[in-house]
């Protein structure tokens, strides 16, 4: 008997980026209901629940109760922004094993309304060996990524202009996405049009060599994804978007680790091997863009460019939706210019699905294969890498 295949059948991205008065649980429930409706399913169909725990301890119980579902698979893997790629990988596995038929992934965040830092490095309060050694130095979220950018520049001659190009591309896609434009306006960003490399490099430096416009926005938001077994997928509202391959890995500081290479160098090849595909087969690259350096590093680690070649790979607008010869990058506008409530991984799956359905606001004609790569935690120190390869019939 062949293993059951898994497909994304329902998606929803909560449209608002400012949600005063809403709780995280409410955003999750609204998104879940709409994603189930998008698929043509109902709460009673859900038999597997995946949750990153953002509503609090023992979220597997709390979220099941609120939704009124009775899952037979409960997975609360929490690895920051990459949690949803891990959840998708686990849903593939659980569906293949016959343990689940309809899997529900949800996310809700009120990071902007709470005006809290969204860094995933852990705050004072619970001492760990890592926090004990690092807390006295104030290495904040942006500075952590800046360490990678500085070393990348040192080793490979990567330039600020090359990094800026990634932010320029994200904004070009955001301008085409009405929800992203509304997001920029609602978050008080005055200039909501396209930006130039000079705009990025003349924005203020936060942690050398990273500038303000190289940093993701801080929003509220959320979303949901419904993943189903192949026999369920055939009868639903949309053509299935198949999950073809998955890879998981973690990285952490070592005494001789090359910090310009992330754990994606392990999760990516595993996912491509399972899918039987190569980077040159990919039309859509949904790559976690917490900062510009994140994307540059991940493009290399995933095999789109050789190590050190990410800068030249990204320049000249090559990653825009309408340029042939390279995958289209973050066609929804990304975390840099559309939606980053703290854990962006779910939106990577959602926009990849839109592209393979033909529903993106920056639709790549004939898009057939997509990659969604989430980076959770902190790229410069300890982080998680989740890679999912998606495809349509």
């Amino acid at each position: 008997m062949s293993l059951r295949r898994a497909a994304i059948a329902g998606i929803h991205e909560y449209p608002d980026r400012l949600t005063p008065g809403m709780s995280r649980l409410q955003i999750k429930a609204v998104s879940a209901g709409r994603a189930l409706a998008d698929a043509g399913l109902h709460w009673s169909d859900v038999d597997a629940l995946y949750d990153a725990g953002e509503v609090g301890p023992m979220s597997g119980i709390a979220v099941a109760e609120y939704f009124g579902v009775t899952p037979r698979v409960i997975d609360t893997t929490a690895v920051g922004g990459s949690s949803y790629e891990f959840h998708a990988a686990h849903a593939m596995r659980d569906i293949a094993a016959g343990r689940a038929r309809v899997a529900l992934l949800t996310y809700g965040s009120t990071a902007r309304s709470e005006s809290r830092a969204i860094g995933t490095g852990g705050r004072a309060g619970q001492a760990t060996p890592a926090s004990s050694m690092e807390t006295p130095y104030g290495l904040n979220l942006i500075a952590n990524y800046a360490l990678v950018a500085r070393r990348h520049m040192h080793e490979y001659g990567t330039t600020p202009e090359q990094l800026a190009e990634i932010a320029v591309t994200a904004r070009a896609h955001a301008v085409r996405n009405p929800e992203a434009v509304a997001a920029l306006k609602s978050l008080g960003i005055r200039h909501t049009g396209e930006i130039t490399i000079d705009d990025v490099l003349s924005s203020r430096q936060i942690a050398d060599p990273l500038h303000l416009l190289e940093c993701c926005m801080v929003s509220d938001g959320g979303g949901a994804v419904v993943i189903v077994a192949d026999d369920v997928a055939r009868d639903l509202r949309h053509p299935p978007v198949w999950l073809l391959g998955a890879g998981e890995a973690v990285g952490y500081p070592g005494n001789d680790r090359d910090i310009t290479t992330s754990a994606a160098a392990r999760s990516g090849p595993a996912a491509f091997a399972e899918a039987g595909l190569a980077p040159t087969d990919i039309d859509i690259a949904m790559i976690y863009d917490s900062f510009t350096i994140t994307v540059l590093t991940l493009l290399e680690d995933l095999g789109f460019a050789e190590k050190g070649g990410g800068g030249t790979f990204a320049v000249g607008g090559r990653l825009r939706w309408d340029r042939p010869g390279a995958p289209a990058l973050n066609t929804d506008g990304g975390g840099l210019s559309s939606n980053h409530p703290g854990m962006r991984g779910i939106f990577l799956l959602i926009e990849a699905t839109r592209q393979l359905r033909g529903e993106s606001t920056s639709q790549v004609p004939g898009a057939r294969h997509a990659i969604a790569h989430g980076n959770g935690g902190l790229l410069g120190t300890r982080h998680a890498a989740g890679t999912i390869i998606l495809g349509k019939d």
């Binding site: 004072a124 001492a127 004990s132 104030g138 500085r150 070592g254």
Partner: protein, 152 residues
């Protein structure tokens, strides 16, 4: 009531303090206790390779037993950033300041502040450990080692 209200309030307002490690934290507490004597320790595991951060059970052993050694405190900057914005009052008072990974000559890497000119700091700069004394521990803050050549 004093008429010199400005001067009084300024004098009474405590300067923001550097956040320090929270104890108990049994893996790293011995390391921090040694800093009070200005000793920079690291561990060596069963294979002879350095282990850092310190921990009870090292990655090359199945039982506790890492050996503590003392570093000479000299190394090179592996990477760095110059912080120019910060949300914490102490670090805001330090801006701009340098944090980086320092590769110690004994073969371990630690994150630390480097008290160097933000315009002069560079990858490969030779540094040596300095100490900022607090109650019961000292925080390593590296300083440029002027007499030494840089290593790329």
């Amino acid at each position: 009531m004093s008429t010199d209200t400005t001067g009084t309030s300024r004098a009474e307002r405590p300067a923001p303090q550097r956040p320090l490690p929270l104890f108990p934290e049994p893996d790293t507490e011995p390391w921090w206790r040694a800093t009070a004597e200005h000793r920079l320790l690291y561990q060596v595991g069963a294979s002879g390779r350095p282990v850092f951060y310190p921990r009870l059970v090292g990655p090359d052993a199945l039982e506790p037993g890492g050996e503590w050694r003392e570093s000479a405190g000299a190394g090179g900057v592996y990477s760095y950033t110059v912080l120019r914005r910060h949300g914490h009052p102490f670090f805001r008072s330090q801006l701009p300041y340098v944090v980086g990974f320092v590769d110690l000559d004994e073969g371990f890497r630690m994150l630390a502040q480097v008290d160097a000119d933000p315009e002069a700091i560079r990858v490969g700069m030779r540094v040596r450990v300095g100490w900022e004394d607090h109650d019961g521990l000292s925080v390593p803050v590296f300083v440029p080692d002027e007499g030494r050549d840089s290593v790329p």
